[in-house]
Symmetry: C2
Subunit: 322 residues, 2 copies
Amino acid sequence: MRVLITGGGGFLGQKLACALGQSGRLRGQKIAALTLADIAAPACPDMPFPVTGVACNVAAAGDVQTLMAQPFDVIFHLAAIVSGQAEADFDLGLQVNLFGTLHLLQAARAAGNCPVVVYASSIAAHGGEEPEVIVDGVELNPQTSYGTQKVMGELLLNDMSRRGMVDGRGLRLPTVSIRPGRANAAASSFMSSIFRDTMQGDTSNCPVAKDYPIYHTAPRTVIANLIHAANLDGAAFGPNRCINLPGRSDTVAEMIAAMTCVAGAEPANRITWNPDPTIQAIVKGWRGHVRPEKAQRLGFVTDASFADTVRWFLADDIAKAS
Amino acid sequence: MRVLITGGGGFLGQKLACALGQSGRLRGQKIAALTLADIAAPACPDMPFPVTGVACNVAAAGDVQTLMAQPFDVIFHLAAIVSGQAEADFDLGLQVNLFGTLHLLQAARAAGNCPVVVYASSIAAHGGEEPEVIVDGVELNPQTSYGTQKVMGELLLNDMSRRGMVDGRGLRLPTVSIRPGRANAAASSFMSSIFRDTMQGDTSNCPVAKDYPIYHTAPRTVIANLIHAANLDGAAFGPNRCINLPGRSDTVAEMIAAMTCVAGAEPANRITWNPDPTIQAIVKGWRGHVRPEKAQRLGFVTDASFADTVRWFLADDIAKAS
């Protein structure tokens, strides 16, 4: 069982690698080797199996072909240009999010072993003419270039799965909060930083109103769902391999209240409230309420509370780092 | 007003050119020049304005850039690899249907005049997990590579329209019947040939059962709808620029009965009934019943009867050719 994670240097890639290291198994088999690929060669945590960090620009077909010259059995495709950056640079988003996915899927097809491909799509797939509460089976009408490129990748994944070239599974990730590390160019970056940074003594700005609803999920839960997606039988997904992942719908105010319960009153006082029209324009096109019934039937999970998320953040990302 | 038709050598491209020649106007303005582009330089019918036929492989970015070096005001993008061929050759379909559309839209963006782009998508966008009767707003789940590539183009068109790069309008065409000329590699080819060929004294095979429902439209009606799409204000489409076009739902048996009413009993006797599993596998993924309410609100039209279609075919394609 050879496993590849693209975007392996990102926080999800690193957490996924650690989770695979802890279990040592995937799809009922022992993991023999793990490759972490990213634009710069990622750090390789200690594992009970060999781990290799590889520098690979997925926008370059040759890079991807070299990376995948030896077939993988399971591929987690997490590499992407995030929403804010893809909105600012249309062509870069196309190169990485659309062509990167195409290169990866073509290399997986060329390997000839019909590998399992777990594809990180996004709840940003939704917006525009869709209903306020997203149910399964509504026409995707993304209102960002990032969301558009993610959905184009979904379609390719579905078609190549139908043709038996790959065994794809696409997950539309809710906003992952609380994301560790530093703020990034994702329009959703504030949905982590107003908790992460303020709990560590810094100020952080919230660019939207307190009643803005966020459809979110904790890093621990996303990792569990990514691994669950790999373990499932592909046929269980039916003709459409791409699903809305479970998440929680909470307003910014509700999430702050949960943080206050766990971490006291100080962090919330460090949040500033300056509206940002650019970020608002992007995130107001998203949806805060989703009923992911197909994913629930398939056994994907969600968080019981945002208070859990705060506790996990303190345990996983602060206690370990200090 | 400079107009471009890709796929200008095809039967729809040629009929569209003739219709533009007859009216001489588009979007309230006089047409100054028309360019017909296709893989081989198309025939140029006599027009009240200059018409140029250009050989252009849309899969080659350079070809498209050369073609579009001088900006067009309205572009009808009809060029495509049809369903049967895109299913037989995955990479060719990607090159022409996905990359060809990308090249065209990028060249239209580079022109800097935000041209109107009328994009021919297909009812093959639908299938898989969608309901038996298609209504507006259902998640597209194409079950062919052709349908997949068409939907990927729709997403790109929507995103580039949202960004103001082009002013796109995407129409999911029903099966166009009765298509003149010869049988082609479209899986739907029989939906024309069992009428066209038998009315001209030849035999023709029907690979599906008599109760198979076809969502179809006449060439005259499609041409009227393509021109209507160009004439509309883009904002009328809302955030989703791509719509299901109106058509008629008739079974094969009902369409044959209409032909018999107009053309007598002989043609129907020339139909053979040998099932074809390859064609069935493709067309059974399509949908025979659609409620295109958004398109109807926007003023797109359908045929009153298939008997009209038969009469129009005899008048437009047989009488003129003989």
